[in-house]
Symmetry: C2
């Protein structure tokens, strides 16, 4: 089959790019549903922020948005409460086998995690290395160290650093990604 470049193809390509991380997101959503049902934690994904430009009203009570654009989120995607503590994190996927590029993270997400850390909350990233099929919880203080040196040292966090300074989250059936097990470790060891 010959693939002629056409509009549809471009659209498809872009869509698949937009959906990058969809599976990780789904796995985290299912994990959070499990936590909610089992009364373990109340953690939700925030809706994707959208800038609405135009709305029409084809029928009463059902506004139809006809023009809108995705906005850059000003915070991380997930937050909630666990064991009385405020939890805050974002999920990132990388196709690289050797490192996670820091360009994957928005500067204001790092600033947000810094504020959360200063306020006594527990902040982190959940990172999926697709090539290794491994998931890690990266505490925000490790992220800050790499972030603060990204102009002088390197613009990515090496996979090796994940093996050393992050915590692997084992994938299982239910919950899919039991990241609160790692948060327990962080709480117990005051990390």
């Amino acid at each position: 089959m010959i693939n002629y470049p056409n509009k549809k193809k471009i659209a498809k390509k872009n869509i698949s790019h937009a959906n990058l991380g969809m599976t990780l997101e789904k796995d985290i959503d299912l994990t959070n549903e499990y936590y909610l049902l089992e009364n373990i934690a109340v953690i939700h994904k925030k809706p994707t922020p959208v800038q609405v430009v135009d709305v029409s009203y084809p029928a009463r009570n059902k506004a139809k948005i006809t023009e809108a654009y995705y906005k850059t989120p000003s915070t991380t995607d997930y937050n909630g409460i666990y064991k009385g503590k405020y939890i805050d994190f974002d999920a990132k996927e990388t196709n690289s086998a050797t490192s996670m590029p820091l360009s994957n993270i928005h500067p204001h997400q790092v600033e947000h995690l810094r504020k959360i850390s200063n306020a006594g909350g527990i902040g982190f990233l959940i990172v999926h290395f697709k090539k290794h099929n491994k998931y890690f919880l990266l505490p925000s203080r490790v992220l800050f160290q790499f972030w603060d040196n990204k102009e002088t040292l390197r613009k990515s966090i090496p996979y090796q650093a994940f093996l050393e300074f992050a915590y692997e989250i084992k994938f299982s059936l239910n919950p899919r990604l039991d990241y609160l097990k790692i948060v327990d470790l962080l709480i117990d060891n005051n990390i």
Copy 2:
């Protein structure tokens, strides 16, 4: 001027209905900005959830949403961290001088606040009685009492109950609505 009922008018009416509470929302946003700048608390409004149906790509890197609909939020609108505690609330406005109809509140928002309360978080509503130009912080436990009796007793919370069981938030210049002053009271008195 005679107002002929036409499409534009219906649209306008719906828009003004959708924007009901816009000023309260703005005042709370400004208050949260103040808290953030002064390192008092990290509290954000969640984006309005939107169900995206169709997206076009008129230019690279800028997806244009061409069909989408507002979804009912599954949680409250605001959450964050204050003094190490998880904070969760919603904002409601009412035009009634005598009571706030419980139909203003989505059942899953009440369920969400119940889960937050059980998890040790601090949940409440900020309610604006426009006719009185008064703002109240209504602790979630008071909301639950009225909610749980709404089939047998009454379908609204009377203004009188706000005067007795809620806490008035005084409007000021900066911060506009210093609701964390009331949260301090709740924390100190273990309410």
